[in-house]
Amino acid sequence: MTTTAPQRSGGESAASAPSERGATEPLHSAGTPPGDARGNAPRRVRVLVGLSLALGLSLVLAQGLLAKALETVATERADRQAFISLRALEDLVQRAGGKGDSVRAVVSAWQQQLPAGSAVRVIAFSGIQLEASTFSEDKDDRAAPRRLSREEKPLYDRGQRLRAAVETNREEGSARKLEVEAEALPNGGRQLSAPVEVDGAVVGLVELATPPLKEPLYPSKGALALWLLLPLALCAGASFAVRKQGLLVIASVVALAVGVGGYASYSLGMLDAQVRETQTLVAGQLRAMSERAQAVMAERQLATELALQPGNWDADPYRRPLGLVTPAGAVNEAAVAARVAELRSGAGRALGGLGTLALAVLLFIGMGGLARTVETVVENRTAYAYIAPAMVGMVVLVFFPFFYGITLSFTDSNLYNTGQSLTDIWVGLRNYAEILGDFSIAKRAQDGSIVFNYLNFYYTLFFTVVWTVTNVTIGVTVGLVLALILNVQGLALRPVYRVLLILPWAMPNYITALIWKGMFHQQFGVVNHVIRMFGGQGLAWYDTPVSSFLTVLATNGWLSFPFMMVVSLGALTSIPAELYEAARVDGASRWQQFTAITLPALKPALVPAIILSVVWTFNQFNVIFLVTEGEPSNSTEILVTQAYKYAFQRYRYGYAAAYSTVIFGILLLYSVVQNRMSRATEAA
């Protein structure tokens, strides 16, 4: 009923602005009419809508989470049971020597007690053999033992991966690489692979494929409906009893708490029961497998010097015993209780988060925040429509990477752990402490000279500041001098000079950088060629920090003066010639004219250009990276190139992210100070 007015005003131009203000008046009065008696009904509706949305959203999400958790529990249950069977088989295969007829006998004996649809195979690395298999495709002419065929390469590679993982973990005394792999099969079953060790060396691989898993338990829809409708009914009842807006909102919050809390207790109870059931099943499996393994050992007369250790069979992917089930096959209540408590606190946190989200939604809608937001968006919809594409672009291309980088800086992300979640590798402020807390900048050598630690942050910062100051000084000086020359009245061929002098700027700077790098080449470079022409010795430019610095300084000076020249030239032409005439009449010298007229007139144009140029030079990656590459030994590295090297040569992504964040902090500080100063100068 009220939407037509703003629509019209939005489509029209500023001429209709006064009428727009008038037209929105009825909208306000329709949304929140004055007077309690008439205002109660929409408020009630608002609170109820808010509650139903908040409850619906949180419960549906909770249902999804619960379904996912139940599925994980079911998969874990299947994996652990299969894994115990696999580890028992692995133990037997090891006792049978890892290859030969006895392994095949063990495997066929083992197959008999596996549930229908399961299959096992054993692979030996020596000779790339399929030692034994009960898979349906390995029959007749493909029956074991045989060499693996070419399309079975992934099997062999998986075995080698597990072998390397076992050796790596053992050597480092850590659990860094998975020693057991589990994957889903296309038919809905699971396939687990474990290494076979004989005399301490991994010589093969055993694999077990399970039949398709049972459908995991799905949370009941009845519970969802109960905890959704009950609070709503409560709140609806309350809305008729309570007249005051505040009390109504409080009632709705209570109703929300009842709904979310009720569903939480339902889902926690369900998870709890499932986890406990898993332990019982796993314990049963352990007992069964242990008996079975004893039987096979007796039947096959395998080595029994070392007793079976069924306690180790129920283990994590690094083959560390979980301890949830005792070796005798009983449930270890204490460990399970701890496990359940851990699970509960995790689920509690997730549900707490959901509850907070729901509360925010409820309050936002119930208190009228949504109504007001919608109103503003509708009113200014043209403006929002115009900035929407840019906002999406900014979020995807700028804000997301930026915040991701900052998050990364608090982790220990590196080449080896890119697969882990960020919370697992969280180190807090350690990277920052490491970067900013290292003060070993330099030390004194025996002969009195100072040896710098080029990898130190403060050395690099010092170098970056020197680099920025020298470059900007050169850029401004050269640019200004050239601009003054070009500004001489009646200069012949001025357009030609201008074009020529702007050329360095027009060329892509990495091409320029590579050309300059070539010019400073020790043997073939034109610079050394010129030096030799005058009888000098060529210099190895990239061998000492100072000469190396000179090469980048020359390159970047060449790249930066045209910008300053163009800026100054534009400002110079706008200075009225009368000022100089008057100055000459007063007897001012040329230098006095320059300092009293030219420089002050240039200031408004030059100061912003210098501010910009400082930031560009501070982050001038291309020139440093391409020309000196930090040579010799990282002494000519600036902060950004150093951060790059930490990330892509030393593979320490978290550390590099912290480094970049520090750079960002420095530039932020610079711009804040710069703003203050320029505001102060403007005011003066």
Binding site: K153, E172, R176, D412, N414, L415, Y454, Y651, R652
Partner: protein, 407 residues
């Protein structure tokens, strides 16, 4: 009328085109990336052409990638499936690529004994990471003794002879030196370090920079530079080249890259690095860099790609790459070929590689360079004793490695 005829003709032609496509099976296309230029590139392309002529079902296309951007390009494109099927690179980045995953395909599975035996064992070792072979070695580069025949008629066999010969030829005032090499560069120092039985990593990837053997090797280097005084100060590669070309450095430790910089008039010879009297007569053992051919993990034609890699590393291809590309092949059977055996340069590097040690291919190696370089600088400038400097470097590397390992 004429138009109609033309149309019929065109239709018939296009129908022919349609017919012929299914008739001839599409050959598999294998893309090979390399970083070669000039003669190396020409030799490689010649071998690839031989392959393409011999195999109708596999066609190889080569792409020369500028060397500066090559490694980063591999890291960026291959794991996303946008890279080549095969690529040639040195072993130093291998460990990093394997740990990053989905870049280099393990090829243990394809290797039979005949292929394994084709290579100089240490070069295949360079292609092996944690017990699995990931590439076929193509060629190697190794540091050896290069001497000026006019100044040194017979190259020294032991370090004692080396010092004696070098002392005679050294005249510091005239800027003459018996021996010149980048002794401050850790890569060149490796020959002494490995000669004493030292190394960078102990069992596995435990850093051992400050091992007694390493300290001894640095002390011997300092003795040559200080007490014997046979080495020039601040030996940049440029200085060494100009000294050798001016006849002011009689002997140089360097690799094949140095040969291209020797001036035309200089009559030079190559010989194995001397044995070390100080280490009980054991030979100096330089690091070698091995370039391998790798099958990329996301490739669609791994079998075919491996066939190409096998072809590139067999004796016939190695001969072309050696004689025309001036590479030192990792294939050991090719050295019995009379033409290759008669080539002094190839033979000298083949002799040296017998005692060479593959440079570690573990990703932890990238963390060694800068602490090791700082240590060498500190020792040369006498900022600290060899032992103290190496202790500092060891600590730094151990810290970096532990930082990478946490969790």
């Amino acid at each position: 009328m004429k138009n109609l005829r033309l149309m019929i003709a065109a239709m018939a032609l296009s129908a022919l085109g349609l017919l012929s496509t299914p008739a001839s099976a599409q050959p598999k296309e294998i893309v090979l990336w390399h970083g070669y230029r000039a003669e190396e590139k020409a030799a490689l392309e010649k071998v690839i052409k031989q392959f393409n002529d011999a195999h109708k079902d596999i066609q190889v296309k080569t792409l020369a990638v500028p060397y500066d951007a090559y490694a980063d390009k591999i890291s960026a494109t291959v794991p996303r499936g946008k890279g080549p099927d095969l690529f040639i690179f040195a072993q130093d980045r291998l460990g990093g690529w394997i740990e990053a995953g989905n870049t280099v395909e393990p090829i243990d599975f394809y290797l039979d004994d005949a292929v394994r035996k084709r290579f100089i064992p240490t070069t295949l070792e360079a292609m092996t990471y944690r017990g699995t072979v990931y590439g076929l070695p193509l060629n190697y580069k190794v540091v050896t003794l290069i001497y000026n025949k006019k100044l040194v008629p017979t190259p020294p066999k032991t370090s004692g002879e080396l010092v004696a010969t070098a002392k005679k030829l050294t005249d510091k005032k005239a800027g003459r030196f018996g021996l010149a090499y980048s002794y401050g560069d850790f890569y060149y120092h490796s020959a002494l370090m490995n000669g004493f039985g030292g190394g960078v990593f102990g069992p596995g990837t435990t850093p051992t920079l400050n091992s007694p053997a390493n300290v001894k090797s640095v002390e011997l280097m300092m003795k040559w530079a200080e007490k014997d005084g046979i080495l020039p100060a601040e030996p940049s590669s440029a200085l060494i080249t100009s000294l050798f070309n001016d006849g002011k450095a009689a002997m140089v430790f360097s690799g094949p890259w140095f040969l291209g910089e020797i001036a035309k008039g200089v009559d030079y010879g190559l010989a194995p690095l001397p044995t070390l009297d100080e280490a009980g007569g054991k030979p100096m053992r330089p690091w070698m860099t091995v370039e391998g051919v790798y099958v990329s993990a996301p490739s669609q034609n791994k079998d075919a790609a491996f066939e190409v890699a096998k072809f590139l590393t067999d004796a016939a291809a190695a001969k072309v790459l050696a004689l025309e590309g001036r590479q030192s092949p990792a294939n050991q059977t090719v050295y019995s070929d009379p033409k290759v055996a008669g080539d002094a340069q190839l033979k000298a590097f083949r002799d040296q590689v017998e005692v060479a040690v593959p440079m570690p291919n573990v990703p932890e190696m990238t963390m060694v360079w800068s602490p090791a370089t700082s240590a060498m600088n500190g020792i040369l400038k006498k900022a600290s004793t060899p032992k103290a400097a190496l202790d500092v470097a060891q600590k730094a590397v151990a810290k970096d490695v532990a930082g990478l390992r946490k969790k």
